[in-house]
Structure formats: structure tokens, C-alpha cells
Symmetry: C2
Subunit: 87 residues, 2 copies
């Protein structure tokens, strides 16, 4: 399964969410991640995210596509992804 | 065509990008939008975005799916979308 995950969390929780999402997916921009993941691993990710997130303020949106080929990605402007290897 | 658009732009350009994206798509979270859009309208959106964006610092990622049913959306935590009608 191919997913895109985008979080919107309070400043204090950004670093933890970034670290968590990077363990499961590829970072592509700001708070946006993508990657191939199994249902089981995605469940793990969601459970760990819920431990970090504030129920009332934070959100995590996950878009799932059964196959990556169903999604076409286009980047306008800077491709942040390239910086990831330096971080 | 169904798209998810996510921008990452400098603070000074956030308001303009938000306003632009809202004209074409539905706001779902922070800098994330989704919606059904034609190729022609998407081209317009990209062209207008390029006029706002700083070539060296900003980015706009667009994920395209030919049909919405190919994408399943799941929200963990707060569903920001609901606030949109009040803004």
C-alpha cells in the first residue's frame, strides 16, 4: 500500500512526529511524507502518532492508494526531498 | 481528476497561497488541499502559484489520481476541515 501522510501538530510535538514519520516513510516536504507501507506497519505508525498527538489540537491525515502507480506526483518549485540526505 | 496539493512557502507568502488554493480546491489541513479539478484549472493554479512562490525557497507538491475512489483518506485526531466554514 502506498500512502501520503501529512501532520499538523503543535510546535512542541513537531520534532517527535517528524522522527516518528521518518521511521516509517520518506519525508518529502515540511510535514509531508510518502511511501510504501504495510497495513500492520501503518497501524503501528498511527498508534505511535496517537501517543504523541494532542487529541484536541493535532491532526494526521493519511491518504492511501493500493498502488503507487495510481498516484502521479508533480513538484512545482523546490524539491525539498533532496535536502533530506544532508539532515 | 482528483488532486491533493501541499505547499511549503515562506511566511510572507502563506496568506496568498492559502487564498489561491482555496479558489480551486478544498482546504483540509494547514497547507493541505484536495479536490476534483480539470487539467486546465490545475494548470491555471500552478501558473498562479508560480507567480506567488519564491523559486528558491518555496515548493508546491501535487499528487494526482485519475479517480477519487483510488484514494482512501483517513484522519487521526482533529478534522480541521470542519472549521473551514467558519473562516
Amino acid at each position: 500500500m502506498y500512502v501520503i501522510a501529512v501532520y499538523d501538530v503543535g510546535q512542541k510535538r513537531v520534532a517527535k512526529m517528524l522522527k516518528l514519520c521518518r521511521r516509517y516513510l520518506n519525508w518529502i516536504q515540511n510535514s509531508v511524507f510518502e511511501g510504501e507501507i504495510s497495513e500492520a506497519k501503518l497501524l503501528e505508525l498511527k498508534q505511535e502518532a496517537m501517543m504523541i498527538m494532542d487529541d484536541e489540537d493535532d491532526s494526521l491525515i493519511i491518504f492511501k492508494a493500493r498502488q503507487e502507480k495510481w498516484l502521479e506526483k508533480e513538484i512545482v518549485g523546490q524539491e525539498r526531498q533532496n535536502l533530506d540526505t544532508f539532515l
